[in-house]
Symmetry: C2
Subunit: 445 residues, 2 copies
């Protein structure tokens, strides 16, 4: 029976009573080979971690890095070995011999490898334990997102990514040849999640790809990303959504801390204290501008006024929140009407003009990770607002049906899964947090 | 504080000690209105179920079906009311008044509505509790799929759906305009899940859309579906995968039975006994042909020989399994080489020609719900086989890298989520099990 690398110490420390239990089998990839005085030390990598194999001359075949092997032997304590134990090999089988011309150094130092080289060699770079650890954290994020929402009575949905047109207007859409017509890849499940809320499910979430045909090639953009979408009925304002997201993020941070200790340590990262999430401030847009402007002045010795939540402002606001509230997490709400899509619920700040909205962004460690808000659920208000956004009611027949026949007050948000992963681990680019990232130039592997 | 419909009986039976606890609030959709001697009975629908509201003349506004309302009143036991209790309303607020020209009868009998009408009016038909129940079952399937695999040490992955070319060849692919080039929508995450297995994760799963540009318009085809993908390393043959799928299906059946009793009952469906899954037979392809042919002869009084696992054979084989093994679930393995993609692991049945493969299909209640098998992991065997499938090695550079540098024996399978949902509930068409199905003609809503 095969045992995992992580269990070798236990096998060595507690070999059992029968003599045959002394012999165990491991299987995995040859991560490192070191020769020392006629003895070969092999570090074997499996899904659980690493184990040192000790091969005497007799059992040593012509090993290459990354070959997949199965080894049988005696587990033994050795405080010099990684994990405090090793396997003294008695027999070894090569299951798949790796060619010796490895084009990417799997056991190399990631911090010394450029992003382009990592992505160009994705098939092999994903074998690097430090790189792989990003996606173990991401798996926990996805699981924790779903489990928290289920605990709050949300239902998971799966909606189509092929849509007749874009919800948010016609720009930045990828076109698909769909039999004898053209459709688009969905930018978000906006209409669908609103439909499902209004179906009576009330609380829904979706974990699915979303597409943006943006031409930017920056460390914060992906053309395809995993969108963690939430929508719920019977809210009063965006503040209900901010409360929900706080609970969600606290749970995600807690789960990553608990399940991914080694993965987080590999990146010298610190997961935010889940207990501090509740203390993250919510700041209206105008006030956020003032704070960002003041931070800019302090940081650069007299920066100009900041007029928008641009990437620079996102960084300043998070720095401010970290200093003043103990966590680099901040919710900015009440965005001006002109900054938000047509379906955003308007907010009158007292001038009778409803120039604001019940909307919010969540910024984490200098990056926007969420956009959300309450939606317009009133049919007449919806019809009235469309022309101001250059939209034609007749082109939005499904949206009309949704609102015309009874739609509860509702709202929602979406978290960019790769951005959250990036910021938890402190990765330089969001592309590092996508298994097979798509940007303007890259569609392979 | 709002309570849910399902909690009205408890509120009525145990009103608490203080007088103010007698008053509760509910919110939801007006599902049905009935007038009886000056009293109005409203059936209110929320995410938990239905509750009867009793309105005297004074509190009765001009209600329309599907309007969203909030009602406050006194819960009271009434054995004639659905669930044994009702709310005697003291105040009522309309949150969203539905227009009276409802184009689809939400509270109608689904069995009397044609599929086209249901799909044409999807925004509203999804409000029908029986239709909605399909997707509550589907949510459980997705959750149970993931939780079972996590319990077996699998890691969830999310891979790109935009690919440079199709893994299985160039047919049946949707093309996407990707900036200044064309890419395709992925038919399956085949290469990606094999890459992640080979990265050292060993065991991975993915829940994501998959695309097939098939022109068929049948009750068993969707052009976009949710693929429940599994891949694992260090297997001996497809039999390891069949064992895994049996455990997985048993867990899914168990969870649906436990969590979706009412949803299953709404369709008069019976979830298979989880304990019977282990008894599902595994039958080699040639033997399956013989069984199907014999069944055809018995059923139609002399049907001809069946030469392929076509839809008719799938039905016959499941009927046979149900009769002989107590469950309409059967695994057919050892498909001929010519029926399987290039990456399938060959199997020599004794004639020295390796004309068979370590592959399988899973048939459930007359429908193929899974295709899977062991994959070729040997680089040289891979290079040798490509030309026989009309494929050029140089066009498969990433696949080459995957196999050339150490790849463990591995295999996997994919379950069609909508097909499994369909067959658990006994739906006539797989389209009923897709929230927003895509077929050759349908891309809306």
């Amino acid at each position: 029976m095969r045992i995992l690398a992580k269990d070798i110490y236990r096998a060595a420390a507690d070999p059992g009573t029968e003599s045959e239990q002394r012999s165990v089998e491991v299987a995995g990839w040859v991560h490192r080979i070191r020769e020392l005085g006629g003895i070969t030390f092999v570090i074997l990598r499996d899904r659980s971690g690493m184990v040192q194999l000790v091969l005497s001359e007799a059992e040593k075949p012509n090993l290459t890095l990354e070959s997949v092997i199965r080894a049988r032997g005696t587990p033994a304590l050795n405080e010099k070995a990684p994990g405090g134990a090793e396997l003294r090999v008695t027999s070894l089988e090569i299951l798949s011999r790796a060619a010796p011309d490895l084009p990417y150094q799997v056991n190399g130092d990631v911090s010394k490898t450029g992003l382009e080289a990592i992505l160009d060699n994705r098939t092999l770079s994903l074998r690097n334990p430090k790189i792989r650890s990003i996606f173990k954290v991401q798996a926990t994020i996805i699981e924790a997102f779903a489990s928290y929402l289920r605990s709050q009575d949300f239902t998971e949905i799966k909606t189509s990514k092929l849509v007749a047109g874009g919800t948010e207007g016609g720009t930045e859409l990828f076109e698909v040849e769909y039999f004898d017509r053209k459709v688009c890849l969905a930018q978000s499940p906006q209409y669908y999640k609103e439909t499902m809320v209004s179906s009576g499910l009330e609380r829904v979430f979706e974990i699915a790809p979303a597409y943006r045909a943006e031409k930017h090639d920056t460390p914060r953009h992906l053309n395809e990303y995993v969108s963690l979408d939430v929508e719920m009925a019977f809210i009063e304002s965006e503040k209900d959504l901010i409360e929900l997201e706080k609970g969600l993020l606290a749970h995600i941070f807690e789960e990553v801390s608990r399940k991914n200790r080694d993965d987080v340590a590999a990146w010298n990262a610190t997961v935010p204290d889940p207990n501090l999430v509740a203390k993250a401030p919510t700041v209206p847009y105008d006030e956020a501008m003032t704070i960002a402007t003041a931070e800019a002045a302090n940081n650069k010795g007299g920066g100009g006024k900041i007029f928008d939540i641009n990437p620079e402002a996102e960084r300043f606001l998070c720095t401010w929140a970290g200093r003043e509230h103990g966590i680099e997490l901040i919710f900015v709400n009440q965005f001006p009407r002109r900054h938000r899509p047509f379906y955003t619920y308007p907010l009158d700040l007292g001038d009778g003009k409803a120039t604001s909205t019940m909307s919010f962004d969540c910024l984490f460690r200098g990056l926007e990770i969420t956009t959300g808000g309450r939606r317009q659920h009133d049919y007449n208000a919806f019809l009235e607002v469309l022309p101001r956004f250059g939209l034609k009611p007749e082109a939005m027949e499904n949206y009309q049906t949704l609102l015309k026949y009874g739609c509860p007050p509702h709202g929602g948000f979406a978290i960019g899964c790769e951005r959250l992963t990036q910021k938890i681990l402190g990765l330089a680019s969001v592309k590092e947090a996508s298994l097979f990232p798509r940007d303007r130039k890259r569609v392979e592997p």
